[in-house]
């Protein structure tokens, strides 16, 4: 039985268990008392907060019920925030304003006093390393904590050097050009890499181990070897979703998974604060998947990774807490509860199939608002779309969030719209009263419960379909996920065309005139592209003597089955990204594209 079949059964079993507890709470006197006591204690322990208007509110919003069955359904079926199965939230407290809060009657409240983390992530990447570095400094000048999220240009994403024939136009477009370890030093220059209020996220997959190795090497150059254990951040590294949707995979699947596992093994041992993989539904959804498909394929991929890491001999309670997730949030109604369902299914699967403890059961989520939902026509309407999506994401208790810039459909985001997008989050969290006073203010509406159940059924039915094909990897061979996503994408386009799906400003209330402004588009100037190539050539010249030896050491590690990531940290000292991928291609081949 594939892990996915076991997970499906575990969820069904768990749902039955919840119903049994509901029945028991209604019929078994002793159990009822237990439930009621737990509930009263929970309610009483909640702190009180005073709003600026003088209103006194509990720190946590709980259903108003004293019916033991319903209490059991809540406690077991969705759980208090921070409690299994984590439907309401991964943690007890999120987004709550700490400053100026009136202390509750009980200082040892179950809600605790966890310092809330800034959930806003700032995504940037353009030109050469200094250009992005400047953007990072501009964006973070007023931030309490620094959370940088990095986009790479096309050649980097495909593991090619900037001097590769035919890629000149792509250098520094849509992301930053990184060819070598020096670029990585320049990219994060001036930032305190080992600081606990600093983290980076790198959106790269196919060559992820090489790029992370460059980051580690660059950090060591600046701060010495002891920095490694303090590095904090995320590298996307999600190979399975690349095969299913995003197409940025460069080595064959098996080799890619081996390099990934090597990286996970290394970081769980030596970089305890690092997230070596961000299991991503975002690109699956952007490629056209329905929200249910997004959730199902992402979770299924996650369980597949867990299986793989377990087979390598990694301990689930060590790697489990280092897995994180990345979902799209669009405007479809499923998004009212999608992340809530994901948290539950992940927790049940990890606990009951993989035997994970609480920290390893958490579906820690980064959300990005939907890029696909944005349009170029009357693009300022995108500000509204993104705001609604942000609200849905926070209702779903996302752990961090990125909001898209309104001008993204037609350009690399300009500073003006990047700032507006980040501000939207601050407005929602800090200006409105919706999130800063109470946990779970908007959770648990009747509509949300219905969406939860429907989405869960949909996800389980996708699990069954994948399992029937023999699991995630076998389903990939059958092109199952790809063809499902493509069919959904085609349906979506047809719906826009025939008006079933209404897009304001596009197929409804369309302004006859194209209101797109004359743009000052952010493009990388030719001289910057030349500069990148010149630097790369210089690097290659300077390291000519050592490069060959370094590549041979890498090749030996690949062939002998050693940990490739540990070796890469050394290889990147002398070799460029393209030199490394070229050698690895010789050893393991190329990924064969699927259509």
């Amino acid at each position: 039985m594939s892990a996915l079949a076991e997970v499906t059964r575990a969820v069904e079993d768990y749902n039955r268990f919840v119903e049994e507890q509901v029945g028991r709470a209604r019929t078994d006197g002793q159990f009822r008392e237990q439930m009621l006591n737990r509930w009263r204690a929970g309610c009483a322990g909640v702190g009180i907060v005073t709003t600026p208007t003088g209103l006194k509110l509990p720190r946590l919003a709980l259903p108003q019920t004293d019916e033991p069955g319903e209490i059991a359904r809540y406690l077991f079926g969705e759980g208090l925030p921070g409690e299994f199965p984590f439907m309401n939230a991964a943690y007890r407290q999120m987004y709550l304003q700490v400053a100026g809060v009136a202390a509750g009657p009980n200082r040892k409240s179950p809600i605790g006093n966890v310092e809330s983390e800034e959930p806003t992530r700032l995504f940037a990447g353009l030109g050469v390393a200094e250009d992005t570095n400047q953007r990072f400094h501009y964006l973070t000048r007023q931030q309490r904590s620094i959370r940088l999220s990095t986009a790479f240009d096309g050649p980097t994403l495909y593991g090619l050097d900037s001097d590769t024939d035919g890629v000149f136009g792509k250098i520094g477009e849509g992301g930053v050009a990184i060819d070598m370890v020096e670029d990585m030093e320049r990219l994060y220059a001036g930032f305190p890499l080992g600081d606990e209020h600093f983290s980076v996220s790198m959106t790269i997959n196919g060559p992820a181990p090489i790029i992370l190795a460059m980051y580690v090497a660059a950090a060591k150059r600046r701060f010495g070897p002891e920095i490694v254990s303090k590095l904090r951040g995320t590298v996307q590294g999600d190979i399975l979703k690349e095969v299913q949707a995003q197409n940025e995979i460069i080595f064959p699947i098996e080799a890619s998974l081996r390099f990934l596992t090597d990286m996970v093994e290394f970081t769980t041992t030596h970089m305890p604060r690092w997230y070596p993989i961000s299991i991503s539904g975002y690109h699956i959804a952007e490629a056209g998947a329905t929200p249910v498909q997004q959730a199902a394929y992402t979770l299924a991929n996650g369980f597949t990774y867990a299986e793989l890491f377990r087979e390598r001999g990694l301990e689930v309670n060590r790697f489990g807490p280092r897995l994180s997730f990345f979902l799209d949030c669009g405007l479809d109604i499923e998004y009212l509860a999608l992340a809530r369902v994901c948290r539950k299914l992940w927790a049940v699967g990890m606990r009951d199939v993989f035997g994970a403890n609480a920290p390893a059961q958490l579906f820690k989520l980064h959300t990005q608002t939907s890029g696909r939902s944005l349009i170029a026509q009357e693009f300022k309407g995108n500000l509204t779309r993104t705001a609604v999506e942000l609200m849905l994401a926070y209702i779903n208790a996302t752990n961090s969030c990125h909001s898209n810039s309104a001008d993204e459909p037609f350009t690399t985001p300009s500073e003006e719209y990047v700032r507006l997008a980040a501000q939207a989050q601050a407005v929602l969290l800090e200006e409105t009263g919706l999130f800063q006073f109470m946990m779970n203010t908007l959770g648990g509406s009747p509509g949300m419960k219905i969406v939860e159940q429907t989405v869960e059924e949909g996800v389980l039915s996708e699990f069954r379909a994948i399992d029937r094909l023999g699991g995630v990897l076998a389903a990939i061979e059958h092109r199952y996920q790809r063809s499902q996503i493509q069919a959904a994408a085609h349906r979506y386009e047809q719906q826009i065309n025939n008006g079933v799906r209404r897009i304001i400003g596009l197929n409804r209330y369309r302004d006859a005139a194209d209101t797109r402004p004359a743009l000052s588009v952010v493009r990388t100037p030719r001289r910057q592209k030349r500069l990148q190539i010149d630097r790369l050539e210089k690097f290659k010249r300077n390291h000519r003597a050592e490069a060959g030896r370094a590549l041979e050491a890498l090749a030996q590690t690949v062939e002998s089955g050693g940990n490739v990531f540990a070796e890469l940290v050394r290889t990147v000292e002398h070799c460029s990204l393209g030199q490394i991928t070229a050698r690895l291609h010789e050893l393991v081949g190329h990924y064969r594209p699927a259509i």
């Binding site: 994408a489 085609h490 386009e493 190329h590 259509i595």
Partner: protein
């Protein structure tokens, strides 16, 4: 993946003297009723294939034959493929920036190879600004579709702009470039009345290997791996691939074999994709004529891939094919009984691909027994074509060369 050796020679077709007898220009021919053929692709360092997949589907449902080259393809690969396929136009879907340079490069390559008449159009959602679009128009791009374009508008454009029946002509130059060979193949495919298709070359006839088997058995992967071994074994070797994909009933076709190929995107490989255009059995009505053109054109090897088909009949006649390879996957058992597989009796080599799957050993043993009873000296080879440096594919390659 890229070779530069053939650049100066203008493509993969070897220099050989070739003759063709095109009809007088005014004579009526059958081109007017044949589908429009265009090629679509996504540029290098770009994996955004969602839009192009949707557009491809829409186009083929409206009678257009789309040769899809896939994503992350260089300007050179795209131009080469369009020339070899004699496509009327190239549609490029670009979302990762650098489009001004990229479209320009494609057009340059086309012009340099005497194929400036192949149209170029494209789109990139909002990433291509109106100013870019104007710039691209100056460079010779026929049309840039902006975000929010209706699919129907794209279909209409392709049909009206590229649908006018052109007179297939083949120039009388004697250098057999990709461009010229492609034109000869178009004449052959359209069966232009009054034309004969032989190429009078000094080259000795190529060895032609026919590869068939059910869909999903891995034929295309196997061909790509064989082509790679062939190219590497001899720095001058040239390969031609004639591939087939099914036409939708009365409609267009998605010719997608090129999209999954890695090593065959090479100046020393000439590939042509044919739609079956209503013919059953895995080949096109034009296959034979196309082979008559390819065989004497000086290739060292010609590989013919059929549509993924049932196994009730052997699609190849013996006159033009030297060797036949049947590619199977080990899970045939649930679907077919060996006794019913006519091709097992006919094929020179039977390849059990995906032999890493459970049950592969049993399958190979069963087939082996069957072949022994045939007493025809047929060869059985187990492969895992998707595996890098697979020894089974090496063995097949050696056998084909022997």
């Amino acid at each position: 993946m890229k070779t530069t050796t053939a650049r100066r020679q203008g493509g993969s077709a070897p220099r050989s003297r070739a003759g063709i007898h095109p009809p007088p220009a005014r004579k009526r021919h059958q081109a007017s009723g044949s589908p429009v053929r265009i090629l679509t692709a996504v540029p290098i360092c770009d994996g955004h294939d969602s839009a192009i997949n949707t557009i491809n589907l829409e186009l083929i449902h409206h009678g257009i034959e789309v040769i899809y080259l896939g994503y992350h393809r260089s300007a050179r690969d795209i131009a080469r493929a369009a020339i070899q396929e004699d496509a009327r136009a190239i549609g490029i879907s670009s979302y990762n920036g650098g489009h001004v340079e990229f479209f320009g490069e494609v057009i340059e390559f086309l012009k340099k190879n005497g194929a400036g008449d192949i149209g170029v159009f494209g789109g990139g959602g909002g990433t291509i600004t109106p100013a870019d679009a104007r710039l691209l128009a100056k460079k010779g791009v026929d049309r840039i579709f902006s975000a929010g374009t209706r699919l129907a508008e794209i279909v209409e454009f392709v049909k009206t702009r590229y649908g006018a029946p052109g007179i297939p002509t083949a120039s009388r130059t004697t250098i057999l470039t990709d461009r010229r060979l492609a034109k000869l193949l178009t004449v052959a495919e359209l069966n232009v009345r009054g034309s004969r298709f032989e190429v009078r070359g000094s080259a000795k006839p190529s060895r032609v290997v026919g590869i068939t088997g059910p869909g999903g058995a891995g034929k295309t992967t196997l061909i790509d791996e064989l082509a790679m071994r062939f190219l590497r074994s001899d720095p001058k070797a040239r390969v031609a691939i004639l591939s087939h994909d099914p036409s939708l009933a009365g409609q267009g076709a998605l010719l997608g074999d090129r999209a999954t190929m890695i090593y065959s995107q090479d100046d020393r490989v000439f590939m042509r994709s044919l739609a079956t255009r209503g013919q059953a059995g895995g080949l096109s009505p034009a296959t034979k004529r196309c082979l008559q053109v390819l065989k004497p054109s000086g290739f060292d090897l010609v590989l013919v891939e059929t549509v993924g088909i049932g196994q009730e009949a052997m699609p190849f006649g013996r006159e033009l094919i030297n060797q036949t390879v049947l590619v199977m996957s080990p899970d045939y058992g649930s679907r077919l009984q060996l006794q019913k597989i006519v091709m097992l009796q006919e094929a020179d080599v039977v390849v059990v691909n995906k032999s890493d799957l459970a049950g592969a050993k049993t399958a190979a043993a069963e087939i082996e027994q069957y072949l022994v009873l045939n007493h025809r000296g047929q060869k059985l080879i187990s492969t895992v074509a998707k595996r890098h440096r697979d020894p089974g594919v090496d063995e097949l390659f050696r056998w084909l060369g022997s």
